[in-house]
């Protein structure tokens, strides 16, 4: 089974103390992944649930809960700002 990857961006990296993490096997849904990360690190869990934080699955924004497949790359994105 192909490993899944979790990617944190921006301030989430500082909060968690990591940038990328492999998950084998991955949770079945985005909600389950949030629960898993939150149970391990409640402060990160709170940050992930914070306003403006979005999730992307395989580099496409995910709205609400979605199913995850082995090999997926899941990213958590705080509010974005370029320029």
């Amino acid at each position: 089974m192909k490993m899944s990857k979790v990617v944190l961006l921006g301030r989430l990296r500082d909060i968690a103390g990591w940038r990328e993490r492999a998950l084998d096997p991955p949770p079945a849904t985005l909600a389950a992944l949030r629960d898993l990360l939150s149970s391990e690190d409640p402060v990160l869990g709170e940050a992930l649930a914070g306003r403006g934080v979005q999730a992307a699955v395989n580099k496409a924004l995910a709205r609400g809960d979605v199913a995850l497949q082995p090999g997926d790359e899941i990213a958590f994105l705080p509010p974005m700002s370029g320029g």
């Binding site: 990617v7 961006l9 921006g10 301030r11 403006g52 924004l61 974005m80 700002s81 370029g82 320029g83």
Partner: protein, 171 residues
């Protein structure tokens, strides 16, 4: 697609010179250059660090550029955006538009900057003697972006990031 996302420093003057060269049909060219400041809100900044999410950041900016190209009657657009470490005084972003009439060129650059400020997938950290600070869009940035939703209300779906903007900021 004239979009470049790069870590290398760039020279805004040279970009404008290259973009303007040989244009016999454009009446006007508008450019915006965003520069890293040496202080924000009274706190010194020694380094700005922009994170990008490779494979996600580039297509998002290409979609913005294509949107601006379709909305405004511009002949050409260029967006160059740096990420990685950026020193004060260095350029972060350069946007240019060429159009037959100046209004379209102003609008396209203004619109693209508003979208980049509120929706471009970058995450900014300012480093300085007072510590590190993550910078997120300011209330005026969301308000600037909302101008375009009003102007194009019947053809635009809400932008992803303004959906999730704090209620007290996006008003």
């Amino acid at each position: 697609m004239a979009v470049r996302v790069q870590t290398e420093p760039f020279d805004a003057g040279r970009l404008l010179g290259d973009f303007s060269a040989g244009r016999l049909e454009a009446g006007g060219i508008v450019s915006f250059t965003g520069i890293a400041r040496d202080a924000t809100g009274g706190s010194a900044v020694t380094l700005l660090e922009l994170d990008a999410y490779p494979g996600f950041t580039e297509p998002a900016i290409e979609a913005m550029e294509a949107d601006a190209r379709a909305r405004f009657g511009v002949q050409d657009l260029l967006v160059v955006h740096r990420h990685g470490p950026i020193r004060p005084g260095e350029a972060i972003v350069f946007v240019a538009a060429a159009a037959e009439h100046r209004r379209a060129a102003f609008d396209a650059v203004d619109f693209l900057m508003d979208r980049l400020k509120t929706e471009a997938p970058f995450w900014k950290k300012e480093r300085g003697p007072d510590g590190d600070r993550w910078i997120e869009p300011r209330a005026p940035d969301y308000q600037d972006m909302e101008r375009w939703s009003r102007a194009f209300s019947d053809e635009v779906e809400p932008a992803a990031s303004s959906d999730t903007a704090p209620k007290d900021m996006s008003r």
